[in-house]
Amino acid sequence: MELGMNPMRFERSLGHGMHLDAIAHGAAGSWHRVPEAMGLMVGPIGTNIFAPKGTPAESILGLSVLVLSICTGIFLVVGGLLLYSVIRFRSRPGSDNSEPPQIYGSNQVELSWTVIPILIIVVLFLASARVIFITQKTEKPANALDVVVIGHQFWWEYRYPKLGIVTANELHVPMSDPRHPTPTYLTMSSADTDHSFWVPELAGKMDLIPNKVNTMWIDPERAGLYLGQCAQYCGVQHAKMLIRVYADTPQEFSAWVADQQRVALQSPDAAEGRNVFLRNACANCHTISGTNAKGIFGPDLSHVASRATIASGAVPNTPQNLRAFINNPADFKPGVLMPAMHLNEHDLDAVAQYLSTLK
């Protein structure tokens, strides 16, 4: 709850709550500290392609199972033949060492192992083509939500053109009841290098390429948090360009939209921190609605406190982490493009406190 999640959602994604705890112990404070959380810990797996929670991922899984079973069949037959012939035709001690009969080939046999693979390939191709076309050639329904996704080194910008919302790193979409689908269509491009949007449980990946507009769609069947990360090498911090997709119930989503559409809160208690923010270079790169901060190089911070994480999903959004991140972002993400701000302790406290009020 300290992470800014509502109780309902927190309960539903309890597993991912554990994930945040692990990070809080591991990465909070300093990047240099050795994390307690080791890989052998059995945690929830939020990125398994065999656990699809949306139509595109499900149709891919259907195809994958078909392809996997055919390939397993071929493997068993051919691998079995190989094993059999190695055992059956091994040179045995004591046998006379005369040469075995020399066979140079057989047109019939060779024809058969040309034709059978061709037939298998036709089957696999038709099955693949079906999934290609149902995924990439669907009509967009009228009730679909449009989101523009822009990749940056090393974070995600999300714009909701019809709703007038701009946010970063945590994508909120309505869950899509299979009986009344409400899919979300993503229109994607990049501001700098190539990136790729991959949330395995929802859909296959799609690249974000500068000077090119790509589209994909997702329709999470269940409310909850879905994880993913950038899947095209984009520079130093490619590894920590994480994706969090929140599928909200209709009520949650309307509430979230209403919150995000409000002009950023300007609490009188945080006036000092706001001044620090506006006086310093922060405002050159970040936008906070209702203020003179209109920078577009970094994430929009109008509602930064409503997000569970900072640094593109790499760090839990706690006041301490926020403060430490502003002090020196490279402690968390070496190579991040945000410079260390060299604020004094007092200003650091003030600006971190101000940002924490931006619900």
Binding site: M18, A22, I23, G26, P35, M38, G39, M41, G43, I45, G46, T47, N48, A57, S59, I60, L63, S64, V67, L68, C71, F75, V78, L81, L82, S85, V86, F89, R90, S91, N97, P100, P101, Y104, G105, W113, P117, I121, L124, F125, S128, A129, Q136, Q153, G204, K205, M206, D207, I209, P210, N211, G228, A231, Q232, Y233, C234, V236, Q237, H238, A239
Partner: protein, 562 residues
């Protein structure tokens, strides 16, 4: 005259170096040689050095990835490591080692005294070798005047616009570009030489249809080098123009196209895989029959399948681009063309199986590695078919599943056959056998390490782990798998050390081999081990595909069955 100048040049040197046969003479002999065997050995030695270097890079990466949130290596250093590992393994290990064996073996196998253009041969080697040195020199000079970066960190396929000066300041990317340009010139030179040699230098009686399959496969590989290295070279020049002459081919900020680079790169990059794997098939075509004691099954089909692979592989490149938004029609086309490659490849696997079938299999180390190759190449081919189904690739492209797949090809198939080739031709090259005991240790340890690493590497991919990340979150369930993968890498390292020890030790202490230790059938086994510099005192005449079989079995010669 020449001797006189030489004597004058060495006058100031110590006695040991000056005497004839001293170190200076040896160096001069190797540096100025145009003998195909010596050039072949230099290619192989050079590739082995880079194999060790790039192997160490892999090991460092595996240590970093063994546990989540590891801080053994910084992200910048990690990104350089995977760039250098990939570039080195493809351009400065794979290509030179295969060209090395080709150089050594082709003239011997077709009964010639040397390659068609011995000087071009030496030139090609030295140009390629300089390319490798240039790549690694970037570690010292990459910062240039700007102090940014050392070695290149753009990945081995160096996608634009990351390579543009905005995103890659300094000279590291230039070192990458220029070293690949040079290596490409060397590759084209050697490919030209191989084609000319096979077409014009065959001994009497050796029609194209009687050429050893190894030579056929090298011929096809070399023709592919012509076609595909050119676009790569063009792309490198375009990139240099972008970076220094204000061009905008790939500079997206000025309206260039990132996708254009991908097309240029992969029209090279995918056939390149076949350029690397065909020589491995070539070794298998020679070794499997000898140790099964049977002629290769379906020689004409093997040749046809190779030529087929050569052509089809030129039309599959965009399966590396299933997620760039080509649209459903292009995705469907490249799904189909990619799957079609499985047909000629399948023919090869079945023909090797049929060669073993009914044979009398001798489990010498070269054959062990060949059997490992067959088994692993089968799996690599099947995961390749999976990835060809483009929707499957939308999930698994750029994930560790792909990394596991192509390492299954590059290590499980190609490196296994390279090891087999070492054990098989070492006696010809040095006159001594490699130790069978050490060979068996090498084989079994390497098999265990290989399967630990590359079988288990598929799993984090299925669990959503993308490639090229220097670390990963603890909660994703990838940690345990990565630990097994890393331990496997250590086992492979130990196995490789045994191999290197065996190579060195056998040179002096190995059993004397004689001209034909494997009771084999191709021409290279008819001359002494090592062969004299002129290869054959009298050029041979052949009457079939297996001239030595005909000699050993005058009652039942192959020539009766042509």
């Amino acid at each position: 005259m020449a001797t006189h100048t030489h004597a004058a040049a060495v006058a100031g040197l110590p006695q040991t170096m000056r005497r004839p046969g001293g170190i200076l003479d040896v160096v001069q002999d190797w540096v100025t040689t145009v003998d195909h065997k010596k050039i072949g050995l230099m290619y192989i030695g050079y590739a082995l050095i880079f194999l060790v270097v790039a192997g160490c890079e892999a090991l460092l990466m595996r240590i970093q990835l063994a546990v989540p949130n590891n801080q053994f290596i910084s992200p910048q250093a990690f990104n350089r490591l995977f760039t250098m590992h990939g570039t080195t393994m493809v351009f400065f290990v794979g290509m030179p080692i295969l060209f090395g064996f080709g150089n050594y073996l082709i003239p011997l196998m077709i009964g010639a005294r040397d390659m068609a253009f011995p000087r071009l041969n030496a030139f090609s080697f030295w140009v390629s070798a300089f390319g490798g040195v240039l790549l690694y020199f970037s570690y010292f000079a990459g910062s240039g005047l700007y102090g940014a970066g050392t070695a290149p960190d753009v990945g081995w396929f160096a996608y634009a616009p990351l390579t543009e000066r905005v995103f890659s300041p300094g000279h590291s990317t230039d070192y990458w570009t220029l070293s690949i340009l040079l290596s490409g010139i060397g590759s084209i030179g050697t490919a030209l030489n191989i084609v000319a040699t096979t077409l014009t230098m065959r001994c009497k009686g050796m029609k194209l249809s009687r050429m050893p399959l190894l030579v056929w496969l090298y011929l096809v590989t070399s023709c592919m080098v012509f076609v595909v290295v050119s676009p790569l070279t063009a792309a490198q020049i375009m990139l240099v123009i972008d970076r220094y002459l204000g061009g905008h081919f790939f500079d997206t900020q000025a309206g260039g196209s990132a996708v254009l680079w991908m097309h240029f790169f992969w029209i090279f990059g995918h056939p390149e895989v076949y350029i690397l794997v065909l020589p491995a098939f070539a070794f298998a075509n020679e070794i499997i029959p000898v140790f099964s004691r049977k002629a290769i099954f379906g020689y004409p089909a093997m040749v046809a399948a190779t030529v087929g692979i050569g052509f089809i592989s030129m039309g599959v490149w965009a399966h590396h681009m299933f997620t760039v938004g080509m649209g459903p029609d292009a995705n469907a086309f490249f799904t189909f063309s990619t799957m079609v490659v499985a047909v000629p490849t399948g023919i090869k696997i079945f023909n090797w199986l049929a060669t073993i079938w009914g044979g009398n299999i001798q489990f010498a180390t070269p054959m062990m590695f060949s059997l490992g190759f067959l088994f692993q190449f089968l799996i690599a081919g099947l995961t390749g078919v999976m990835l060809a189904a483009s929707p499957f690739d939308w999930q698994l492209g750029n994930s560790y599943f792909v990394v596991a797949h192509f390492h299954y090809v590059l290590v499980g198939a190609i490196l296994f056959m390279i090891f087999a080739a070492f054990y098989y031709w070492y006696p010809k090259i040095t006159g001594r056998m490699m130790s069978e005991t050490l060979g068996k240790w090498h084989f079994w340890l390497f098999v265990i390490g290989f399967h630990m690493t590359f079988d288990f590497m598929h799993i984090p991919g299925l669990l959503g782990m993308p490639r090229r990340i220097y670390t990963y979150e603890a909660d994703r369930g990838w940690g345990g798998w990565n630990m097994i993968v890393s331990i496997g890498a250590l086992v492979q390292t130990v196995a490789t050390l045994i191999f290197v020890y065996n190579l060195v030790r056998s040179y002096k202490k190995g059993e004397v081999a004689g001209p034909d230790p494997w009771d084999a059938w191709t021409l290279e086994w008819s001359t002494s081990s090592p062969p004299p510099s002129y290869n054959y005192a009298e050029l041979p005449t052949v009457g079939s595909r297996r001239p030595l079989w005909d000699l050993k079995h005058p009652d039942d010669p192959d020539s009766n069955f042509e």
